[in-house]
Amino acid sequence: MNIIEARNITRMFPVGDGEFYALKHVDIDIPAGKLTILKGRSGSGKTTLMNILSALDAPTEGDVSFDGQVYSEMEDAQKEQLRRKEIGFVFQAVALIPIMNAYENVDFAMRLAEPELTAKEVDERIRETLALVGMEERMRHMPGQMSGGEQQRVAIARAVAHRPKVVFADEPTGALDTESGLRVMQLFRNLIEKEGVTIVMTTHDPNLMELGDVVYELEDGEIIDRQIRE
C-alpha cells in the first residue's frame, strides 16, 4: 500500500527571462512502512521532489496525495497541520534548533503535534524516543555540545517522537562520516520495525543504497530508475 502517490509532478523556477524545470512529469509512489531512497547527483531534483512530497513546496503541475488527502485541495493551514502531526523532518544542515537542548528539541515537536497530551505523557514519549536513538544520557546537552552524528540522532528522535506517518530526511548522512552514517541508517531500519513509520530520504552515497526498500534514481528532473528490494 502506498502512503504517498504523486502524479505528473513538474516544478518550474523562473530564471531571468527563461524557465528552469527542476522536475519534469514525475510519477512516484511511496510505500507505507518502508524506507524509500531518492538518489541522484546534486541538482538532479531529489530535494525539490522531497519538498513537494512533504508539502513544503507546491508543484507547478501535477498533484500529490498523502494517505488519501490531496494537496491541491488543502488550505495552507491544513498543510501546516499535516506537517505538524503526520510528518517528521530531518534536515541536513540544520539538524536542531540551537537554542534548545536535546530534550527541548523533541519537546518542541511534541508540543506542535500533540498538544492534547499530558505533560507526563509527553515527558515519557520524549525519553522513550531519545532512548530509541541512544541519546537519553545526553538529553540536557545543547546542540553545540554534541557531535554531528549525535545531533542527527536527536533530530531523528525529534522527527519520530510525535509518531508521524512519514519521516522525510534530506541527506541525513551527508555531513557524517561513514560509520556515523551507517549508524543512522541502522536507526532508520530500527524505527521502521519498532514504530512502523515510513521514511523517505535523499542521498548520493552509493554505499547506503543497499539499505533502502525502494530506491528511485533521478537525473535532470526525471526518474530514470526504480529498484525494489524484497
Partner: protein, 935 residues
Amino acid sequence: MIRFVLQKIKNKKWLTTCLLLGLVFLVAAVSCQPMFKAGSLNKMLLDSFHNAGEEAEAYPAVIGRTGAYVTEKRQTAAAVLDGMKGYQQTWEKYLGSIQAVNTQTILTLDEQSAQGAYGGKGKYLKVSYMPDMLAHTQVLVGEDYDAYAGNLYGCMLSESVMDACGFTVGETLEFPLWTDADGETLKLQICGIFKETDSTDTFWYTAPNTMEQEMFVSEETFDAIVKQFAPEKINYATNVLLDYTKINQKNVADVQYYIEQFHKEDESFTDSFLNLLKQYQKDKKTIDITLWVLELPLLGLVLAFIYMVTGQIIDTEQGEIAMMRSRGYRRSQIVALYALQACILCLVAMLIGTPLGYGLCKLAASTTDFLTFHAGNLSMYHFTPVMLVYGLAASAVGILFILIPVVIHSGVSIVQQKSDQKINKKMFWEKYFLDIVLLGVSIYLLHNFNQEIDKIRARALLGAKMDPLIFLDSVLFIVAMGLVVLRLLHYLVQLVYHIGRKKWRPAVYASFLQITRNFRKQGFISVFLILTVAMGLFNANAARTINQNYENRIRYADGADIRLQETWKMQAFYVSANDIDYNYVEPDPVKYDEPVKQGLCTSMAKVIRTNNISVSRGKTKIANCEFMGIHTKDFGETAYLQEELNRDVHWYTYLNELAQQENGVILSKNLAAALEVKVGDVVDCSRYGDSVLKKETVRGTISGKVVAIVDAWPGFVQYTYEDGEETEHYLIVANYAKTVQSFKISPYEIWYKLADGVDSDAVRAVIDAGGTKLSSYTALDRDIDAMKETAMIRITNGMFTLSFIIALILCMIGFLIYWISSIRQRELLFGVYRAMGLSEKEINRMLVNEHLFSTLPSILAGGACGGVATYLFVRLFGVIYLPQKHNLSIYVYLDQMDVLKLVAVLLVMILLCIVILRRLVRSLNITQALKLGEE
C-alpha cells in the same frame, strides 16, 4: 586590500551604515563642543556686559582716568585735553581691536558754594567744561552758552541741579569764595536748562540728570575764568567707552591683562569692568567643565553603540575571520583590514559629522528649555577650525572602539570558533558581580555627597567649578543599576518561563527559550535600551528641575507679573535756616488703572516698599528691614505665592488677619525669631528718611500688633548673595492706610497681574505711552526669558536636549538594526519552524512575545532606573545650580509630556520594528530558507 574592504562594506551595507551613523554622531557630538563652548562663552561675555549695563544703568565697558593739572603748567582747557592724549594713546595701543565708541571728558574747577540772586542756593557747585557737549544737548528752557549774550559768564545747568538748588533760568549766581586779583567775586548767569538729545547716546556716559554739581560753560568762558580767578588746578575726568562687542573669548584674557597692567602703572586709572572679566574667567572654568560633564554620558552611549554594532558585524563575520586565521592570515593583518575599514568610515564620518556638529551646535544653542527651541540671535556660534581637530580626535577614539572587539576575535581560528559556540556564556560583569560592586560604589559616593551637601553648597556659592564627580556618579549609578536590573530581569523571565513551562504553546515556548538562552547575547541591546530610557528620563527630569526651580525663584522674587515704580519727585523745603526737609510728590495715579481698564491686567495693587525701616521690641532692634505697605484685597488678587508654600496655611489667611487689624503687622519668621516675638505681641516699626541728610531721622512709627508670622511672602527673598557673602533680610508687612497715616505718602510700586495670554510688553507700552518715567520695572515673563538666555542654562538645556535626541535616534536605529539582523540570522531557524508546521501567525506571535519579555522589560527597567536616579540625584544637581538658601526648597519636577514623548518614540520604534519583522517573516520562503542552510 581596499577593494576587498569596499566589497566587505557593500556586503554588510546595513550594519556598516549603522556603524557609520554611530561614528557620524560621535564626530558631530565632539566637534560641536568647541563651537558651542566658544559661542556660549561669547554669549556669556556679552550678556555679562548687557546685564552690568542694565544694573548700573550705565555703559558697561569704560576705562578712564581722573586727575588734575596745576594751572601753572596748563592754563587752558585745550592744554589740559592735550595732556590727556598721551594716556589715551597708550590705551589705544594695547587694547588695539577694541575701538572706543565714545569718549566723555569733563574738566572742572574745585567745588564751591554759590548764592543765587533769586534765593537759590548751592553748596557744592563746580564750574565745568565738556568738549562737544552742545552737539549732544537740547535746551529745555533758555538758551545754550554759545547763544548767551549777557555781560556775565553764561552757564547751563541740568534739571537735577536746578531742582536740588532751587535755581531759575536767568538767575545770577555769586561764588563768594571765588575772587580774582582785584577782589571781584565770580558771577555766573544761568542761561539755560539742558538735557541730552537722546537718552541712549553713549556720549552721556554720565547722564545730565546724575550731574548734580556741574555748571557747564563754554571753552572760552572756562579759559577766561581760569585766567581771571587763577585756581590752583584744573580737574579732569575722562571716560573712554569701549566697544565691548569686540571683546570675545579669544581676546578677553589679553584685555584683562592690559587693564590690570594699566592699574599697576597708573593709580588714577579707572575701569568699570575688570571685576566682570574676573568673574568671566571663573564662570568660564565652570562652563568648560559643565559642557564636558553634561556631554560625557552621551559620548559614552555613542561609543557603546559603536562597540555594539561592531560586535554585531564581527558576530556575522566570525566565520570569515576564523577562516582567514586558519588560512594563515596573521592577526595583525586581520586587524589592519578592519582598521582600514574603520578609517574609510571615519573619513566619511568627518565629512558628514562636522557639518552635522555645526547644525547640532546651533540646535543646542537655540534651546530655551528642555526640548524647546527658539532661534534668536545665534551669530556668536560659528564654525571654528578647532572643530576639525576635535572631529579627528573623536574619529581616533571611534577607531579604537571598533578595533577592540576585532582584536578580541581576530585570534580565533575556525576550530576554536566551532568549539566556542557556547550559548549563554556569562558576561564578565555578570560573572564578577561588577554591576553590584559599581552600584555599591555609586551609592557610597552619593551618600558622601549628601553628607557634604553644605560644603558643596558653600563651594558653589563661592563660584567654585562644578564637581564633575557628582554628575559622573549619577551616570555610574544609572549604568550599574541598569546592569543589576538586567540581571534581575534575566531571573524574572526565567521564573515566568519555568512557572508555565509545561503549559506554553509551541510559539511561546520557543520564544521564551529564545529570550532566556539569548539573554546575554541580547544583553547589549537591552543595556543600551535601559541606558537610553534611563538617561533620557533622567536628563529630562534634571533639565526640568533646574529650569523650573530657577523659574520658581524668579517668580517668587518678582512676586507678581509686573512690578513698576515711577520716578517720584522729592520736594525739598527749609524747615529752618539750617534744616532742609522733603516731601514726596505723588505722580498722577490715574494712569496706573489704564492696563486694567484695557483688559490687559486683571488686577493692580499699590505696594509701598522701602528698607529704611527698623523694627524693634524692647531693646532689640533690627535695622534695614524690608517693609511692604499693602491693600490686602488688591495685594491678594495681584501677588503670587507658590502652591508649595501654601500647603499648611494659605497665605490669604494672613492677609485676612491683617485686613481685620488696622495696626496689624505680619513678620517674617526670622524677624519674629530675632525679636523673640509671637503673634499678639506689639512691635515698633520706624521709618527713616530717604535723603542723605535724613537717613538717621525717624519720620514715623507704627506700633503694630503681630497678626501673623510667615515663612515666605510674595517678593520677599530672605537671603541674597554677593561674592559668596550671604545677607539675611527681614520682612514686615503693614496695612497701606496705616502706612500712609504713619509715614506720610512715600513712593509705591504698582503690581499687576496679567490677564491670560497677555504679554508684559503690552502693559509696558500702555505705561510708556503716557510718558511715564519709571525708576524700576520688573516683568516676570521677561525675567524668565532672560534666565533662559543665560549661558549656563542654555548649555544645560542644550546639552540635555542634544543628548536626549541623539540617544533616541541611536537607540531607535540600533534597536531596529539589532532586530533585523537578528531575524536575518534566524532566517534558517524560521524555515525550520515553518517546515515543522508553525504558521506565520505563530511566528509573529513569537516575535511579539520576544518583545514583550525582552524589549518591554528593558524599557520599564530603564524607566525605573531613570526614576530612581532622578529621586536620588536631581535634588543634588539643583543644589549645585541653585546653592543659595531660599524660602523655596528645591523641588524635583517631572514633566509628563517628556515621559509621553519618550514613550511615543519608543512605541513608534517597537511598532516599526514589528512591522519590518512581519514583512521579513512574510517574505520568508521555507524551501529557500532551508536551502540556505544547505549552502
